[in-house]
Symmetry: C2
Subunit: 234 residues, 2 copies
Amino acid sequence: MNGHVFGLGLGPGDPELITLRALKLLHAAPVVAYPAPEEGASFARSIVASWLSPAQIEIAIRMPMDSARFPAQAVYDRAAAEIAAHLVAGRDVAVLCQGDPFFYGSFMYLFGRLAERHSVEVVPGVSSLGAAAAAAHWPLAARADVLTVLPAMLDDAALERRLAETDAAAIIKLGRHLPRVRRLLDRLGLIERACYVERATLGTERVLPLAEARAESAPYFSLILLHRRGEAWR
Amino acid sequence: MNGHVFGLGLGPGDPELITLRALKLLHAAPVVAYPAPEEGASFARSIVASWLSPAQIEIAIRMPMDSARFPAQAVYDRAAAEIAAHLVAGRDVAVLCQGDPFFYGSFMYLFGRLAERHSVEVVPGVSSLGAAAAAAHWPLAARADVLTVLPAMLDDAALERRLAETDAAAIIKLGRHLPRVRRLLDRLGLIERACYVERATLGTERVLPLAEARAESAPYFSLILLHRRGEAWR
């Protein structure tokens, strides 16, 4: 009998934000796969490190630093083949996913390669969005609000067009785009309605009014939350 | 010493999708408050019913059916006052929130009334959005995709304007708006790129291509997911 793939959403980083279901499936899986940088430790693995057993087979899916090769089709092809071999041998495989697997997560690339031929269960997790909102005491949206999630790599014109048509927004994947996005929101008169959240739920978490987030770049795990109309929930 | 408020995101309905942190804080809280209909059982309470103890004081925040009175300021004022009395007496209060507390959740109305004078911790939870995506095997967004969350009560023109400017969307709070939204997506040529998810993670969960969701109304816990450009993650 073939094994199953479990795409486990582990939440934003605090191990306590894992779900009972993800933890149960993690414990039961003989094989555990996770994304990792080209060298060094996997963030997803670090979230659940204290629950892993030496008896579990680990597959580190190492992504080359060279961003020109993103999304690194060959890396996902090879990882999917390695996972599939375990499935055919009857072993379940838990794939560790930081945040929620289907909210801008790399799990979808494995899903696209495995779901047609294999049994896949996706276990949703706490997203970075909900975690940042909780950390910042910043309700995302209420009632008839439109909420738009905008990747920061979009150019100013693309961001401005979407911001004009939404009530609330989250600008994600800030990285080196932080200064440009901050200038844009300043020009649009929105900087006072925005906050900056870095590494939500981790020990190094920071929450600042956006106007005070003056760094030249931000970690990948950072985002901006904003309300165009003030506090909709009052 | 004053008590703390814990806004506990409990996830979409499956009790296994509660986080370790929410469960720990729930166990420790002498007072538990939750939203409830005017008559009958609370959905949020039902998620964690098996973990409640008879020693815990329960506060049902009952919302009148009369939708003209929404957001029912008086109900939230009274509930906040009742919770505050426990806090001042030194008792922590866990407020149960289905899904994520700050993603269109009613917790924000208590938060707005309590956070200035009392200690409030918000524990993020698995949102209905992540749960529906997982159930439908439907990655929400990838890479530079714009993802827009649209409440179904917006009129056709408002929905159409936002749909034209996004890569992916979730149309939430469907209820009686389902037939109108389905007709709109049909007219816009998007119906084949949309799926319908009802009561994700519950025993009564249903996932259908939107074209086959022909009911005249949908439960409150239902949504439509769509991709304008097909499967972005391939």
